[in-house]
C-alpha cells in the first residue's frame, strides 16, 4: 500500500526533484506537495484504488500528513480490507 500511494504522489504531485525520492514519513502538507487541488485528486485516486468513499470528516490533516499517515488511516478505516483486496 505504501508503495502504491508513494508512487502516485511522487508521479503526480512532486514536481521538485529535490524532494525525490519521497520518504514515507515525509510531510506532504508543510512541503506544499498537497494543496486543495492535489488533495482532491488524491482522494479520487484512493477511492478508486481502494474501493472506498470518503467524506468531509475524513479530510483531517493527520490523515494526510505523510504516506505513512494515509496508510494508517486507510487501515484503521476498514481493517484488513484494503490489504486483502489490493495488497
Amino acid at each position: 500500500m505504501e508503495t502504491v500511494i508513494n508512487d502516485y504522489i511522487s508521479r503526480e504531485f512532486v514536481q521538485d526533484p529535490a524532494l525525490l525520492p519521497l520518504a514515507d514519513d515525509a510531510s506532504l502538507l508543510d512541503s506544499g506537495i498537497l494543496d486543495s487541488l492535489s488533495l482532491l485528486r488524491l482522494v479520487v485516486f484512493l477511492e478508486e484504488r481502494f474501493g472506498i468513499t470518503m467524506g468531509d470528516a475524513d479530510l483531517l490533516p493527520e490523515n494526510f500528513a505523510s504516506v505513512n499517515a494515509i496508510c494508517a488511516y486507510l487501515r484503521a478505516r476498514e481493517p484488513g480490507k484494503q490489504e486483502a483486496t489490493h495488497g
Binding site: G32, S36, L60
Partner: protein, 465 residues
C-alpha cells in the same frame, strides 16, 4: 421542504451541464505548491479543503455529463427560475443591423444577478458539511449580496470583504448585504495582515478582488467553523451557472432558433460559462457550430493582453497555482464601475477555452459600455449592470460587422444583472462625466514582469534536472 408546496416550472432544469465530460482537457492544470519552497507553508486552522468534498468533486468530475441539482436547491431556484429569454426587437430596429438578437435576463431575482445560482448551491453544500460561517471577497457586490442572502436562507453566518472602490461607488450594495445579516468590511481593511500590508504601501489603495479574497482567506484561518466561498472562476461555480444556458437552449429551441453567436461579459468566467457551455454541448449534439464571445473590460484585459501562465488567485498567496490567462495577481486595475470585471485573471476553465480557440475575447472600454447599456435600456426597458453593458457593447460590435447580404445573424447575449444600484454611474454617463478607461500601463508592466518571474521561479526545480 414539502415538495407539494413548491411549484416548479417544467422548464426549470433538474441537472447542471458538466463540460468536463465532453472536454476533459479542461480539467484545471496546476503545479504543486511545493515549488514555492518555504513559502508553500501557510498558517491556518488545518482545514485541508475550503470547499466541502461534494462541491470540490464537481470541479474534477469528467464522468458525468449532467449532474443532478439537489432538491433543496431546485426549490430555491424555483423562486426566480426559469428566467426570461426575450427577443430584443426594438434594439434590432435601433441598430438597423441584419440580425435577430435574443437576450437572457438574470437580473430579476432578489439580489439582482446570476450570482444567486451558485450562492444557493454553495450555501447548501457548505451547510450540509457542517460549516457555520462563510467568508468571501466581492468586487461589484453582486456576489457578496447573493451569498449574504443564500447564507441567511441556509442559516449560515456571512462575512464579506468588498473592494473599496466599488463599495464607495455604491454603498447601498453594502446595505443590502447587511440587511441579509452579513458583516461587510471595506477591503483593504486593517483587520487582516494582507489588508494592513496593502494600506501601509498605499493608504489610498482602491482595492482589488485579489486582496479582498486574501483578506477573506486570512479571516477564515482564524475560525475552524468558517470557510472561504468564491463566486467565480472555479469549475464548480461555472457548473452551477449552467442553469442559465440549459434554460436558454430549450427556450431558443421553442422559438425554432439556435444562436450563431453567444456573448457574455468576462470577469473570471461564471456568467460567460453559465450561458455558453450548454450551447457547446448542444452544438456538439446537433452537429452545429457556435461562436462564443467573452467581453472583458479594457481596464483589466486578461484575455486580450494577459499571459497564459501559472498564477495565484489571491493576494495572501495560499491558493493553488493554476494555469490561467492573467495580468498577474499584483495588477491593480483602475477603478471602473464594472467592478465584477476587475479580477486579474480568468478562471482556469475560461482560460483553457481561450487557449484552444473555443472562446473569442474582446475588450470594451467603460464609456462604450455605458453607451451600449443606455441604448439597451431605452430599447428594451432593462437597465443592465455595468458588467452586462460590456456584453451588450460586444454584441453591438459583433452584429455591426455582419454583412447585409448574408442570412440574418442570430445572437444571444447574457444580461447577467440589473444596473439599478448603478444609477449614479449611469447619471454620470448622462452628464458626460464618464471617460474611456484603459489598463494602467505602469501597473500592468510591473505585474506581468512579476508574473513571468514567478513562473521562472516555480519552473527552476524542473529545469535543474
Amino acid at each position: 421542504m414539502d415538495d407539494t408546496r413548491v411549484l416548479r416550472d417544467p422548464q426549470l432544469p433538474t441537472h447542471w451541464f458538466n463540460i468536463l465530460h465532453d472536454r476533459p482537457q479542461y480539467v484545471t492544470s496546476a503545479v504543486s505548491r511545493s515549488r514555492l519552497g518555504a513559502d508553500a507553508i501557510t498558517a491556518g486552522h488545518g482545514a485541508l479543503l475550503q470547499q466541502p468534498l461534494a462541491l470540490a468533486r464537481q470541479s474534477l468530475n469528467t464522468a458525468d455529463r449532467f449532474i443532478p441539482i439537489p432538491d433543496e436547491v431546485l426549490d430555491l431556484y424555483a423562486q426566480y427560475r426559469p428566467t426570461p429569454l426575450r427577443r430584443a426587437a426594438r434594439l434590432e430596429e435601433r441598430l438597423g443591423a441584419n440580425v435577430r438578437i435574443y437576450y437572457k435576463y438574470e437580473g430579476a431575482n432578489l439580489t439582482g444577478s446570476h450570482k444567486l445560482n451558485t450562492a444557493f448551491a454553495q450555501a447548501y453544500y457548505y451547510s450540509r458539511a457542517g460549516v457555520k460561517h462563510l467568508v468571501t471577497g466581492t468586487a461589484a457586490g453582486q456576489w457578496g449580496t447573493a451569498l449574504a442572502y443564500a447564507c441567511q436562507v441556509m442559516n449560515l453566518g456571512c462575512t464579506v470583504f468588498m473592494v473599496r472602490s466599488t463599495l464607495r461607488q455604491k454603498p447601498i450594495r453594502g446595505d443590502m448585504m447587511r440587511l441579509f445579516g452579513a458583516v461587510v468590511h471595506e477591503s483593504p481593511s486593517d483587520l487582516t495582515e494582507v489588508g494592513r500590508r496593502v494600506l501601509k504601501e498605499n493608504p489610498a489603495a482602491t482595492g482589488t478582488q485579489s486582496v479582498a479574497n486574501g483578506e477573506a482567506l486570512e479571516l477564515v484561518e482564524e475560525d475552524s467553523e468558517s470557510r472561504f466561498a468564491v463566486g467565480s472562476g472555479e469549475n464548480s461555480v461555472l457548473l452551477h451557472q449552467t442553469v442559465i444556458g440549459r434554460e436558454a437552449v430549450s427556450q431558443m429551441a421553442l422559438l425554432g432558433e439556435f444562436p450563431d453567436c453567444v456573448i457574455a461579459s468576462m470577469g473570471a468566467g461564471s456568467n460567460f460559462g453559465g450561458i455558453a457551455l450548454p450551447f457547446l454541448g448542444a452544438a456538439k449534439d446537433s452537429g452545429r457550430s457556435v461562436r462564443l464571445v467573452a467581453v472583458e473590460s479594457a481596464a483589466c484585459p486578461k484575455l486580450t493582453r494577459g499571459r497564459y501562465l501559472y498564477d495565484l488567485s489571491d493576494a495572501l498567496g495560499t491558493s493553488p497555482i493554476t494555469k490561467v490567462y492573467s495580468l498577474g495577481s499584483t495588477y491593480v486595475p483602475p477603478p471602473v464601475y464594472a467592478g465584477g470585471l476587475r479580477h486579474h485573471s480568468a478562471g482556469p476553465l475560461a482560460s483553457a477555452m481561450r487557449a484552444d480557440g473555443t472562446l473569442e475575447p474582446m475588450d470594451i472600454d467603460q464609456l462604450t459600455s455605458f453607451r451600449a447599456g443606455m441604448l439597451f435600456c431605452e430599447a428594451e426597458g432593462i437597465l443592465p449592470a455595468p458588467e452586462s453593458a460590456h456584453a451588450v457593447a460586444g454584441m453591438i460590435d459583433v452584429v455591426s460587422a455582419h454583412p447585409r447580404q448574408e442570412p440574418p445573424l442570430v445572437v444571444l447575449v447574457n444580461i447577467s444583472g440589473h444596473g439599478l444600484l448603478d444609477l449614479g454611474a449611469y447619471s454620470r454617463f448622462a452628464a458626460g462625466e464618464i471617460e474611456p478607461v484603459t489598463a494602467d500601463e505602469d501597473s500592468l508592466s510591473l505585474s506581468l514582469s512579476a508574473l513571468e518571474e514567478f513562473n521562472q521561479r516555480i519552473a527552476e526545480p524542473a529545469e535543474a534536472t
